[in-house]
């Protein structure tokens, strides 16, 4: 067997033939970045490449100084004879799988992905390859998502019930991706929707990118003694329990996350409700996504990688764990902040 198309170095996933890294975690010259979450898009790279759809949020995350190039999904670049293209991953706005082809060998790095289509980003596309590098954040058979419409209906019902009790609704979710997806499922006829500052700018980026979202207000627009009891407020998890939430008076809190599938995780969180909504694949979709690539070899990164690898091996696949520094493993606040 010849040289591997991809290897893992101390700086990240590396393509030697093309001399570039994918989602590197230490400074490198050339980085292809799958999406703008902070464990994938890190500071300090000489040059970045991302999808067109990702550019605005990437810019917001990395600052004006960063040198960022972008390409449309599907456009093929050739670097040192290596063909590189980005394909929708359905995780958040602009998230991409990276397809790398050299000497007839095709490798695909999934980044984070989700196969259920939603209105806030271009839907996931399966790509055939020889080597598939997959995430496995929710790689256990206990994780099986309900259709998102059901979750949205539950969230809207919770909002209405809070209103009936005279309580504001504080919906906590990761500021990039989760909040906008939650917003897309809210029914603006129920009441006014407000955004935390950390969510506001990113949401504007989504709109600028053509994503249709219900109208929202920023907290500061509420004047004087505003009656928050009818309002829905979207905020990052870190806002919970801080003095910032006091202004809302009596309120109910909910957390949106795939981790909320488990009762213990729901109870550990100091929130009133847990809604199971994830931007990652669940167990059945993970298996079907891997199958659809027709890959002979699968490398599994952050999440339940050892478990998924053992299972795939038993199914006759050539699978191995890829040690990376993507932060997908802890089932706690940190991972909810970073990985979702």
């Amino acid at each position: 067997m010849g040289k591997e198309l991809l290897t893992v170095t101390e700086r990240g996933i590396y393509c030697e033939a093309g001399d570039f890294f994918i989602d590197p975690w230490r400074p490198v010259d050339r980085a292809i970045v799958t999406h703008a979450h902070s464990d994938h898009a890190r500071w300090g790279m000489e040059r970045y490449l991302c999808s067109d759809e990702s550019l605005l949020v990437m810019r917001r995350r990395l600052g004006d100084e960063a040198k960022i190039d972008s390409v449309p999904y599907g456009e093929v670049l050739t670097w040192n004879g290596v063909k590189v293209s980005l394909h929708p991953a359905g995780h958040i706005l602009g998230s991409a799988q990276v397809r790398v082809e050299h000497n007839g060998q095709v490798a695909v790095v999934s980044g984070d992905y989700k196969t259920e289509a939603d209105t806030t980003c271009t839907p996931f596309e399966p790509i055939k390859c020889h080597l598939f590098v997959s995430e496995s954040t929710f790689g256990l058979p206990i994780y099986r998502w309900s259709p998102q419409e059901e979750v949205y209906a539950d969230v809207n019902a919770w909002w209405r019930s809070n209103q009936a009790q005279g309580k504001a609704s504080l919906l906590l979710g990761y500021a990039l991706g989760k909040s906008q997806r939650a917003l897309s499922g809210l029914n603006p006829e129920i009441g006014p929707i407000f955004l935390h500052g950390a969510v506001q700018g990113l949401t504007e980026d989504y709109r600028a990118q053509g994503v249709q979202l219900p109208p929202t207000k920023v907290i500061g627009e509420a004047e004087g003694k505003f009656d928050w009891s009818q309002a829905m407020i979207l905020a990052p998890p870190s806002a919970n329990g801080t003095p910032w939430v006091r202004r809302f008076g009596d309120h109910s809190t909910a957390f949106l996350s795939g981790w909320m599938a488990i009762r213990g995780a729901r109870r550990r969180r100091a929130v009133d409700r847990g809604f199971v909504l994830s931007d990652h694949v669940d167990w059945p979709s993970l298996l079907s996504a891997i199958k659809a690539t027709e890959a002979e070899r699968v490398w599994v990164t952050h999440g339940y990688s050892a478990t998924v690898v053992r299972y795939l091996q038993e199914q006759g696949l050539d699978a191995k764990v890829l040690e990376t520094e993507f932060e997908g493993e802890q089932d706690d606040a940190a991972v909810e902040e970073v990985s979702e």
């Binding site: 729901r266 409700r273 059945p284």
Partner: protein, 530 residues
């Protein structure tokens, strides 16, 4: 089963008492009686026996989910609960309308326990297929022998009372003893006719607030009646139709525990209800609560204990006389009636004497003797006050001598050190702030070895969560805490700082709702210049 599973999930999804009650009220209002009655049974500690052993459940679930056993094991590790793991790995697959709860309880589960393994497998996997995730979770709990629900009996009673508009004590009474979960029983439970049939029923207790303002604001002392605040078990003595019933404030029937008090009933005329306190009594003086405690835990009492710790009933109010509800009459009139009843020299019955004083100052001086009398302080009641339901402000006050005790609820337990390292002996206690318990003090000592063992066993059975060495427990047990010092503090989350807290006693007589409220403690501290 669908409704039941939804209710079970709704109760689990919230930690707010009001929301749990609300969910139950809606359920009890809408569920068919033949199902609702089973829910009442299950929620009031009638736990079903294990019908299928857990190894089998695990194996069949893995098979049905199409995953190897080792992978099921990984899932179980991640979830920590077998019933939940099974409900999750099988995904959503419900097929139509599942059977109603009573069919499960009366036919399916008993059958499941009876049939041989191969048939069990067939049935159970069919049931799993039939139910959605929530239903499957509820079913697994019902057949796994570990059915628990996050509501106390009192909350169930409260919800039934709201749903049926029947007073809570009536519901409580109707739920007592041995009953079968039949639709007829449920209808009887909801029967609005609370007269007649229900001869044992006590009245809702009238409760007092801690005195929070200056005595002078109470106005003239002449408008007030004072008597001692006894340190025993608050109880109602009910005599009707030739039968006697003694009810604790927790709406528990304690007639058999205190035969001396029950005997008083034989001297009373039918249609008499007295409110008072059961006290261990010796030499014309109540004994310390600690002595009475020896009697509390025992359902039946032997001769020896009866001699060692005899009790008396000290009556301070009369609620019914000659079958007539007299609660609306002013206290002065009720006292006159009570005096007549108690003047008959009935063994073990005494009236709580009026404490007379010329002025508030004199009364304050008399109050200082409370400790020597083994009482907690004084009760102040307006002479024109009716006997109200619950805790209304302004008419009845308790004026305790010692502000240094607080009734608090056990919320966390940790292992001790040294020879107690294997036991849960380090406790954190909470008091009420609205409908939440806020952590307030930690205490390590004060219980007897026997009590420690009991609490330890209870903690293990009632753990909600584990964080390293610390367990979060179901808020249920109430303890009286004593302190060297207690004062207001802005540095503590609860707003109160305590010094050298210790457990004064285990208040097995108190339901958790009766633990102290943060606002009352603060008011008391302000009053005492804390």
């Amino acid at each position: 089963m669908k409704r039941f599973a939804e209710l079970y999930a709704a109760i689990d999804a919230t930690n707010k008492t009001t929301e749990k009650v609300q969910a139950m009220v809606e359920y009890f209002k809408s569920a068919p009686p033949e199902d609702a009655v089973w829910t009442v049974a299950l929620f009031t500690h009638r736990r079903p026996k294990r019908a299928v052993n857990s190894t089998r459940m695990q194996t069949w679930a893995a098979e049905m989910g199409g995953i190897p056993n080792w992978l099921f094991g990984e899932c179980y590790d991640a979830v920590g609960d077998l019933g939940e793991t099974i409900s999750l790995v099988l995904g959503e697959s419900s097929l139509g309308e599942p059977a109603p709860l009573h069919e499960w309880m009366e036919q399916r589960l008993p059958e499941l326990a009876r049939i041989p393994e191969e048939q069990q497998r067939e049935k159970l996997t069919q049931y799993w297929r039939e139910l959605d995730r929530a239903g499957r979770y509820a079913l697994n709990k019902l057949i796994g022998g570990s059915f628990r629900v996050g509501v106390s009996q009192e909350l169930v009673i409260r919800a039934l009372s709201i749903a049926s508009e029947v007073p809570a004590p009536t519901i409580a009474h109707r739920l007592m003893g041995d009953w079968r979960p039949t639709p007829a029983f449920f209808q009887a439970l909801f029967d609005g006719d609370t007269q007649g049939s229900n001869i044992s029923c006590p009245y809702p207790f009238c409760l007092a607030h801690s005195l929070e303002s200056s005595l002078l604001q109470l106005g003239s002392i002449e408008d007030w009646h004072a008597d001692w605040k006894w340190d025993g078990i608050r109880a109602q003595l009910v005599r009707r139709d030739g039968q006697t019933f003694v009810w604790s404030r927790g709406e528990e029937l304690i007639t058999e525990r205190f035969p001396e008090v029950a005997d008083i009933g034989t001297w009373l005329s039918d249609g008499t209800v007295l409110d008072g306190e059961v006290l261990a009594w010796q030499d014309d003086k109540p004994r310390k609560f600690l002595d009475l405690q020896k009697r509390i835990g025992r359902k039946t009492v032997g001769k020896k204990l009866l001699q060692e710790v005899p009790v008396q009933f000290v009556a301070f109010d009369i609620l019914e006389l000659d079958g007539v509800d007299v609660r609306e009459e002013p206290l002065s009139m009720r006292r006159a009636k009570l005096t007549q009843v108690c003047d008959a020299n009935i063994p073990n019955l005494r009236i709580s004497p009026t404490v007379t004083a010329e002025s508030w100052d004199d009364l304050a001086a008399i109050r200082e003797t409370a400790r020597d009398r083994n009482v907690e302080g004084l009760m102040l009641k307006r002479l024109d006050s009716p006997y109200l339901v619950g805790r209304k402000k302004g008419l009845w006050w308790k004026w305790k001598i010692d502000p240094l005790t607080v009734d608090a609820v056990l919320i966390y337990a940790a292992r001790g050190s040294g020879k107690r390292a294997s036991l849960y002996t380090d406790y954190t206690f909470g008091v009420w702030d609205g409908d939440k318990l806020v952590s307030f003090a930690k205490a390590y000592s004060g219980l007897s070895d026997e009590e420690i063992r009991k609490v330890d066993a209870w903690v293990r059975r009632n753990t909600l969560e584990k964080f390293g060495p610390v367990r979060t427990v179901t808020p249920e047990l109430v303890f009286e805490l004593a302190f060297e010092g207690i004062q207001l503090s802005t540095r503590h989350k609860s707003g109160i700082a305590v010094r050298f807290p210790r457990i004064a006693r285990w208040r097995q007589d108190k339901p958790k709702e009766e633990a102290d409220r943060l606002s009352d403690i603060k008011a008391m501290l302000l009053e005492n210049g804390g």
